[in-house]
């Protein structure tokens, strides 16, 4: 009897999960409710965090705003669900959110095991190095023998060891168990170099008494591609989101910004005409209007603008474009052509 009950319960729950996966018309659902539900972090500066007016802002928030702009012609038609890293995938699978845009590293197991699909890489993060400007170090290859403050037992330590061994550099660490201790030790001058993920380096740097005394070296020694995620099994929704991301990149490549997008409507460049929907209708196959990309650029801006506004060199976080530059500038951000 008990066995039957357990079997029944299992079958019922699996059946329901199956039902929720099979149900896949997110675009209609989103249009019906009038907003996108976007899963974000509880607060990571520059990526998704409440700003001084208690409004969500950041690079990953701007992605959700871009999708909303494409669908509703209104970038504010987004509601945010702050998620912890434990609950983020469950919230997505359960349909509580439509897009997960939450500093999530794209890995194979996540992409294949969890019933979710990564769209692309909003930000190529990776482990970097911070040094004092006064030391005159310009590249990680100059770090041979320098004292490196590092957190023990982390992949950070292993990555750094690998990098130094591969480049025949002398590896000299000062190890601590706690992240705060590491920062403190670096600040107090007990070591010359502080290493962790580069976006975290930038955030820590902004807390120093004089942030400008420290620089982050250009080398990135590990792969942490952070990107937005949608549920698996809804190809249309996946494509809308992916092309919203590509439109951000394509606009930057073509030099279309939120400021000049209206002038650009009169451009003679066929690529710009296609992007802005002056020529051809690329919105219809993904269930959108033909000016979908125009709306994104008008209301949110292109990728470069979003980067600059949220994490770029002019902000307190002050990240360089680095790997996140367009492919034309030697970076990795590359969009397939819209044609």
């Amino acid at each position: 009897m008990q066995k039957t009950l357990v079997t029944f319960a299992l079958a019922a729950s699996l059946g329901l999960i199956g039902a929720s996966a099979a149900h896949a018309d997110t675009l209609s659902d989103v249009k019906a409710k009038g907003y996108i539900q976007c899963g974000v972090t509880g607060g990571v500066a520059g990526f998704s965090a409440p700003d001084a007016n208690n409004v969500w802002a950041g690079l990953e928030v701007d992605f959700c705003r871009a999708v909303a702009a494409a669908i509703f012609n209104n970038a504010d038609s987004v509601r945010y669900t702050p998620l912890t890293s434990q609950e983020r995938f469950a919230a997505l699978s359960a349909g509580e959110i439509d897009i997960l845009s939450r500093t999530t590293t794209w890995t194979m197991s996540r992409d294949t095991d969890l019933g979710i699909s990564f769209l692309g890489t909003m930000y190529y993060d990776g482990q970097g190095f911070m040094v004092r400007k006064a030391d005159g170090i310009e590249s990680a290859l100059d770090l041979s023998g320098a004292a490196i403050c590092i957190e023990s037992g982390t992949t950070t330590e292993l990555n750094a060891a690998d990098y130094f061994a591969a480049n025949n550099l002398e590896f000299n660490t000062v190890v601590f168990v706690d992240q705060d201790e590491v920062v403190k030790a670096y600040e107090d001058g007990r070591c010359d170099v502080y290493t962790t993920d580069s976006s975290a380096l930038a955030a820590e740097r902004s807390k120093f008494a004089v942030p400008d005394d420290h620089i982050i070296l250009p080398e990135i020694i590990s792969k942490e591609p952070l990107g937005p995620v949608v549920r698996q099994g809804d190809d249309l929704w996946f494509k809308i989101n992916r092309w919203a991301y590509y439109a951000l990149l394509e606009a930057e490549e073509l030099g279309v910004t939120s400021a000049n997008v209206d002038e650009m409507l009169g451009s003679d460049n066929p690529a710009i005409k296609r992007l802005l929907g002056v020529e051809g209708d690329f919105g219809a196959p993904i269930g959108l209007t033909k000016d979908w990309a125009y709306q994104i650029i008008k209301l949110v801006g292109n990728y470069g603008e979003a980067f600059e506004r949220n994490v770029g060199p002019s902000t307190d976080i002050g990240l360089e474009r680095g790997l996140n530059a367009l492919w034309t500038d030697g970076g990795l951000q590359y969009a397939p052509p819209i044609r």
Binding site: I17, T84, Q86, A90, F208
Partner: protein, 375 residues
């Protein structure tokens, strides 16, 4: 014949000063601090500890602190103390969370209305208790919900994701406290019941909820529950947390109340029965008033624990006071070495004020209800 007295005192002699050495500050010092060698040693050690601990704390909190109106530059300076300017700048976020700024009047009315109703309810001398109770327990929650949620009378709809800060902390704890009292009492009575089904169900409920950590309950409510429900039927996240916290708290409360029920002598039950009172009348007029009085400290203990446990909802992404503080500590405009610490000190202070108030009120209530049964 009358006796002539040479001298009759018509007033009392003033009490004389006690001998020197038994009164005054020096005697007090000797008696309380230096009574024996071991006392002396402890006093000196205590003094040294205070000398060691107090100045840095004072300097951090007040001496070197950056007061409201200061700038982030001052907070970032070497040796700067608590950055109160940051708390001041983000204060609204800590109180209202993401509630739209132009709609703050709505939570403000709720705060004011709640205070205006709960203060007379807590003062035994205030009149109109019955009306007051109905207003607070029935009318106020409805008004508060519609005010905060909006969507009626032309008020903008504000989804619960945008509620936050102290507002949400107070909502969760008030709802938890108010709803868990009746459920807890019923469960305690159920557990003592002679009826086997009621008794078994009560025992099962209490033991289930007591055996599971609150974090697990919240995780289940926010992660597992949606997976079991058909897509499209989402239950509000805040509501899920409210139900979880209430059920959890009522199981604990039930056991506290059961302690009070068991402390009553059997004679009280029998006396009630011999007066011809039925079960409910006996329970309401004779058993519960005595039983609950016995367990006031335990009940308030539960409430204080519940109030502090509300901060666990931050784990499931609800922006209570602690979560807003944590989230704001990544605010790049105020990033400074003491930013996070200042935020936590502020959160701790707010929690302390509420918990301390609850504990003082319960002590006072205990004394007022004391009818000489105390041993």
């Amino acid at each position: 014949m009358t006796m002539e007295h040479a001298y009759v005192r018509d007033s009392m002699v003033d009490a004389r000063q006690p001998p020197r050495g038994t009164d005054g500050p020096i005697a007090w010092l000797r008696r309380s601090l230096f009574a024996s060698p071991s006392d002396t040693l402890l006093t000196i050690l205590g003094m040294l500890f205070l000398l060691w601990a107090v100045p840095p704390i004072y300097n951090f909190l007040i001496g070197h602190a950056v007061m409201p109106g200061g700038t982030v530059k001052e907070c970032r300076a070497e040796g700067a103390g608590a950055c109160w300017a940051y708390i001041y700048a983000r204060f609204n976020f800590f109180i209202y969370g993401f509630y739209p700024i132009d709609q703050y009047w709505r939570p403000n009315i709720v705060f004011a209305l709640g205070a205006a109703l709960i203060v007379p309810l807590l003062m035994p001398s205030a009149p109109f208790k019955r009306i007051n109770a109905v207003l607070f327990f029935v009318v106020f929650p409805i008004i508060a919900f519609y005010l905060l949620n909006g969507g009626v009378f032309g008020m903008r709809y504000v989804p619960t994701e945008q509620w936050g800060g102290l507002l949400v902390t107070l909502i969760i704890s008030l709802v938890g406290i108010i709803c868990s009292i009746p459920i807890g009492i019923l469960l305690a009575l159920g557990r003592q019941s002679q009826l086997p089904i009621i008794k078994t169900l009560s025992v099962m409920f209490i033991e289930l909820w007591r055996a599971v950590p609150l974090i697990t309950v919240l995780f289940m409510a926010s992660i597992m529950l949606p997976l079991f429900m058909p897509t499209g039927t989402t239950v509000d996240k805040l509501l899920r947390a409210l139900v979880g916290v209430t059920l959890f708290s009522s199981a604990y409360l039930a056991e506290t109340v059961r302690g009070g029920l068991q402390a009553l002598p059997r004679g009280q039950y029998e006396a009630g029965a011999s007066l011809g009172l039925g079960y409910w009348k006996r329970t309401y007029f004779i058993i519960l008033p005595q039983a609950l009085k016995h367990v006031i400290p335990g009940i308030v203990n539960n409430f204080i624990a519940l109030f502090k446990d509300t901060s666990l909802v931050s784990i499931v992404g609800i922006f209570d006071l602690l979560n807003t503080v944590q989230s704001a500590s990544s605010d790049i405009n105020w990033s400074s070495p003491t930013q996070a610490v200042t935020g936590y000190v502020f959160a701790a202070a707010v929690f302390w004020v509420f918990c301390f108030a609850m504990s003082r009120y319960s002590l006072w209530m205990e004394r007022r209800l004391d009818t000489g049964h105390k041993r």
